[in-house]
Amino acid sequence: MYLLVIDWIFLLEKFILVGFIVTLSLIIAMYTTYAERKVAAWLQDRRGPNRAGPFGILQPLADGGKLFFKEEIIPLASSKFLFILGPSLAMITALLTSAVIPWGGTLHIFGKDVSLQIADINIGILYIFGVVSLGVYGIMIGGWASNNKFSLIAAIRGASQMISYELAMGLSLLAVLMLTGTLQMSGIVGNQIQGSNVWHVIYQPIGFFIFFVCALAECNRTPFDLPEAENELNFGYHQEYSSMKLGFYLFAEYINMFISSAVMATLFFGGYDILPFVDETKWGLSGNMLTILGFCALMAKTFFFLFVFIWIRWTIPRFRYDQLMNLGWKKLIPLALANMIITAAVVLWLNK
């Protein structure tokens, strides 16, 4: 099956995998909106959505349908191309990161070993950073193209917040990279599975904490949701948007949440490893069964982090803007630097 020197079966396999993972992230993002409303209701002693279907389970579909059928309004004074480009970029960059996350081990189907990772590239983590740093453009372009002061202020707030917290995020990850000695995502997971099977969170609790706070800020979630602070900016950078373009912005936030939860589970909580300190291969299960169980374990960890994201949103009030910048530049970056230097010293000391 070689035509134009491309292995078409390989291409087909990857396309199926991409389709599966994109669909999965969309469905999970859809139901995270439902979970968010249900958890909020639970925390506030209400019932939450319960009319569409049993337990309101069809509520996300109803919301999506509503957004699709609303009128599309493009403001006259906006730059039209950029106005449409903004939400599309937000959506694309949200989905791009899923390409390097190892979603499981290898499946053995039709006499072929199929890895549950779309691209096991040499620079896995750097790729994630690249995509995260591009996430700024969706907000900035959308906010500027709306030609509205509130949108512009919100866009600039969002962009400066994301740039500031990227630094601490990168520094906290450097400590993990020193432990593993590789940038490959599969290598990082493998490092947590092999040997005594210790997850990185045990070696790097501070690193994980910094990464988690930065992930909250990168996803523009409370307590860092300054770009959409209603009391100051009306509605934030998506004020002029209506219909599905608004939907894309809101949806991209939930996809970002899902993907960053998956990244946290992969980097610090063993990825598709089922239990820490246990060698799963001794359970006597077949390889395919272990892979599927591992995928379920990764999903369970991801859902837990999603729950924590939602929990924080309905518990902690919003920071002020100067507090946000102080926390990012004056507390998290020095903490991450100290964490990195101590890790480096310990690694050097133990290797001698």
Binding site: L4, L82, G130, M140, A159, S160
Partner: protein, 166 residues
């Protein structure tokens, strides 16, 4: 090999077209966005040469950080084409001549360099992978590497000093 040729042709056309659009578009925000497209196509070229680290660093540093700052400044200053001052025709001509002189000097300098005989290794070679690149940087080229990092540090200190001045 043909697929690489197709990709190379596509990326080259995109790079040149977006660079031209960057120069010719009236609105500075569009210029910045076209420049970002140029950076992406150049990163594509790096990936064809199997220099993955260079490709991703190009995206992180230029497209992800520096261009965001450019966009920041342009958006805050609100440089629309109505407010842009019309430059003198003579200044434009002088600028073109000066740029042409620079191009001439560069071409003359690079004409006799031995680079012409070296053929780029497409889709092979592993010096661009991060492990080999890091080893090379921290052993053979450690002195220039450290000197350039000191240069960056001093630039950072300078920026802080300028920012602090009331």
């Amino acid at each position: 090999m043909i697929i690489i040729k197709i990709l190379f042709g596509f990326l080259t056309v995109v790079a040149i077209f977006s660079a031209l659009m960057m120069i010719t578009s009236k609105n500075p925000v569009y210029s910045v966005l076209w420049l970002i497209v140029t950076f992406f196509s150049i990163s594509g070229h790096y990936i064809l040469l199997n220099a993955q680290f260079l490709a991703i660093v190009n995206i992180i540093v230029y497209a992800g950080a520096i261009m965001v700052l450019f966009l920041f400044v342009i958006m805050l200053m609100n440089l629309n084409k109505e407010t842009e001052p019309q430059k003198n025709r003579w200044i434009k001509m002088i600028g073109a001549i000066a740029g042409g002189c620079l191009l001439l000097v560069l071409v003359a300098a690079l004409k006799d360099v031995g680079l012409k005989k070296q053929v780029a290794m497409v889709n092979g070679g592993d010096i661009g992978l991060i492990k080999n690149l890091g080893k090379e940087l921290f052993s053979t080229y450690v002195v220039p590497f450290e000197i350039s990092s000191i240069l960056f540090l001093s630039a950072m200190v300078g920026a802080v000093v300028i920012g602090k001045k009331e």
